[in-house]
């Protein structure tokens, strides 16, 4: 506590990324509203899980490039949205070294998961095809 009041908080640095993140959360939110709900509906009650099997996936669902692209887009959206979201939560509750550590961990996991997901969606060969 200084004796008399003078300046304010230190001058902020770059607002660019936070702005982009904020905006992106909203845009991806709109996209996800459509994508995630369709995905969930399709997977859980348009087709009941009991009707699905690997064969069904590969023959029906991923047999079309369009559907594959759709799923990949969805994957990218979900992951980016979710990781940006978790980043916010982390930055709220952690600070200092722990914050940096956890954020690094998150980014790493994010990348790994994204690569894994992409490999599945884009590169899995249709058995027997």
């Amino acid at each position: 506590m200084s004796l008399y009041s003078r300046s304010g908080r230190p001058r902020p640095q770059s607002g660019g990324f936070e702005l982009a993140a904020w905006y992106y959360m909203r845009l991806s939110g709109v996209a996800l509203f459509v994508l995630a709900l369709i995905h969930f509906s399709v997977m859980h009650f348009v087709f009941d899980p009991s009707q699905q099997n690997a064969n069904w996936i590969f023959t029906t669902r991923w047999n079309s490039l369009l559907l594959r692209s759709f799923d990949w887009l969805f994957l990218a959206m979900v992951l980016s949205h979710a990781f940006l979201g978790i980043r916010t939560v982390t930055m709220d509750y952690l600070r200092g070294g722990r914050r940096t550590l956890v954020l690094m961990g998150l980014y790493l996991v994010g990348i790994i998961v994204f690569v894994m997901g992409t490999m599945v969606v884009l590169t899995v060969k249709i058995p027997g095809a």
Binding site: M1, L3, Y4, S5, R6
Partner: protein, 581 residues
């Protein structure tokens, strides 16, 4: 700790902030000390408006404003000062607008103006739109705007520093000059000295010596009492304004703006009783008259239900006007009385509101110490704590804010000029010792003594009951005895808090001491003035007596109570006339 500065401003209300701003603009090294955070100063509660003869909506001239001020003050106004007030009101209001104050606007984008009590066109013909306003939070916007500008100009604020003593080189009663102040830092209880060439007191009013008051808990007259204790006289203390429309029992103010917008006052029979007292201006007569009329109605048994209050009625103004122009006071009625002003009339009673008296100054806001205008070098006062005498025996609504702006600004400018001329005072040895001893004595006393709260309550009761709207010799004599008794008892006041961090009880004990001194002067001056003028109404002397009493009182601290002297009123343009509206 010792802090050298060139200028010090004590109090960050409208007056102090504007002075600080002027000083900062002139590049004078200035500190502002306030016992609150600046935005919590009482200026923020002023609702109705600030008058300036802009003539935005109808013809108006500063001469008319000056006349209203003089007449409103029952001719006890110093007319040279009133002229400055009315003239400079215009430029200060425009300057405030330039600083960003969000005034309400007319359709063509100019500052909007409304009617206010006692402000008339053409020397008393009828109400005029002269009060510039920002909804009903004009004072709030003035305080905020000035604080903002001070931030912009890098003024240094020492928040929550309570000034407890003034420092002088030599005896101020004999020509000594101001040298600084001693302040108690609330956060840790340390005493600091602030040394400077020029010191401004702008500590506001002291309505807290009454039980029912519109004033903040912090308005305890610190600056005024400190001057008095250093041998500087205080002026016109018998004139204390009671505002007609306070919330019953607690005194929170419902602004005159309610009447300015067309609200009416009703008695138990539903009559607009003001027709019998001020047929021309009705509810917009000056406050002293309206308050007296209300007392008379109540005495005649026409209070609501025979009780001691009346109704303020705004229902006919309609929802739009009420919600747009009077939102805050509507809210007050709802919260503090549980009354819905859109549907019911609001119970009101007069409330102690404004001190016309205070530290005598000249028109440059320099403190003067006698009837010849001898200046105390380096000491300045502005705002409610000062008495340039632009309000005389009764202040007109909105004129206090004008006073802050005009004389706060003048104080700042004069201080800058003065500070450029003189050397900074040397540190004064043991400057804080008398105060430290004082505070330690209170803190160290056995807790068996009387508490601050008990003595304060008894003081507020006697002042309210005996020194209120109507006074007479019997009431005042009894009050004088009571105040003396309380002062004696206060010598042994004891507190429970032994700490140094935010020892608010210790500061309240200090403040009680100030109130007692000022009450003493108020009662003594009221007892001496055997006439009725403005806010001072003696039932045993109901007439104004210009032959004997057209003069200001000056009270000096004596051995056992104030010694009274008098000084002439400056009359330049308007000769005293009977005061009717």
């Amino acid at each position: 700790m010792d802090h050298p500065f060139d200028a010090i401003v004590v109090g960050a209300g409208g007056a102090g902030l504007w002075a600080a701003l002027e000083l900062a603009r002139e590049g004078v090294n200035t500190a502002v000390l306030t016992k609150l955070y600046p935005t919590r100063s009482h200026t923020g509660t002023a609702q109705g408006g600030v008058c300036a003869a802009l003539g935005n909506l109808e013809e108006d001239h500063w001469e008319w404003h000056m006349f209203d001020t003089v007449k409103g003050g029952d001719y006890l106004v110093d007319q040279d000062a009133a002229e400055i007030l009315a003239r400079e009101a215009i430029e200060t209001v425009i300057e405030l607008e330039h600083m960003g104050l969000p005034f309400n606007r007319t359709p063509d984008g100019k500052i909007d103006q409304r009617r206010f009590g006692g402000h008339t066109s053409n020397y008393g013909e009828g109400p005029v739109r002269r009060a510039c306003f920002a909804a009903d939070r004009t004072g709030h916007m003035i305080l905020q705007t000035l604080y903002q500008q001070c931030i912009k100009h890098g003024v240094k604020f020492f928040d929550e520093f309570q000034v407890v003593d003034l420092l002088f080189e030599g005896d101020p009663a004999k020509g000594g000059r101001a040298a600084g102040v001693v302040a108690h830092r609330l956060a840790d209880g340390q005493l600091h000295t602030f040394r400077a060439k020029a010191v401004l007191l702008s500590t506001g009013g002291f309505g807290r010596m009454f039980r029912i008051t519109s004033n903040a808990h912090s308005l305890t007259g610190d600056g005024v009492a400190l001057c008095y204790r250093h041998g500087i006289p205080i002026q016109d203390m018998e004139f204390f304004q009671f505002h007609p429309t306070g919330i019953v029992g607690i005194g929170i103010l419902l602004s005159e703006a309610a009447r300015g917008e067309g609200g009416t006052l009703l008695n138990d029979k539903g009559e607009r009783f003001m027709a019998n007292y001020a047929p021309k201006l009705m509810e917009l007569a000056p406050r002293d008259m309206v308050s007296r009329a209300m007392y008379q109605e109540i005495r005649a048994g026409r209070g609501i239900g025979g009780k001691d209050y009346l109704y303020l009625d705004v229902r006919h103004l309609g929802r739009k006007v009420i919600e747009e122009k009077l939102p805050d006071i509507t809210d007050f009625a709802r919260i503090y009385q549980g009354v819905e002003p859109l549907k019911e009339p609001v119970p009101v009673q007069p409330t102690a509101h404004y001190a016309m008296g205070g530290i005598p100054t000249n028109v440059f806001s320099e403190v003067v110490r006698d009837d010849k205008g001898t200046v105390v070098p380096g000491l300045f006062a502005a705002g409610e704590c000062a008495c340039v005498s632009v309000h005389g025996a009764n202040r007109l609504g909105t004129n206090s804010l004008v006073d802050l702006l005009v004389f706060g600004r003048r104080a700042g400018r004069q201080m800058a000029r003065y500070a450029a001329k003189v050397e900074r005072p040397q540190p004064i040895a043991n400057a804080v010792e008398p105060m430290r001893a004082d505070l330690d004595a209170i803190r160290g006393r056995e807790a068996s003594g009387e508490s601050v709260a008990v003595i304060r309550k008894e003081l507020q009761d006697v002042m309210m009951d005996n020194v209120g709207v109507y006074r007479d010799a019997t009431l005042l004599t009894a009050a004088l005895a009571k105040v003396k008794e309380l002062k004696a008892r206060n010598q042994k006041v004891a507190i429970a808090d032994r700490g140094s961090v935010f020892n608010t009880e210790l500061l309240e004990a200090q403040e009680l001491g100030y109130l007692l001194d000022l009450a003493h002067v108020t009662v003594a001056a009221a007892l001496a003035r055997t006439e009725s003028r403005g806010a001072h109404s003696r039932e045993d002397y109901p007439e104004r007596d210009d032959k004997k009493w057209l003069k200001h009182s000056l009270a000096y601290q004596g051995k056992d109570g104030p010694t009274l002297r008098y000084k002439d009123v400056s009359i330049t343009t308007f000769q005293p006339k009977p005061r009717t509206y």
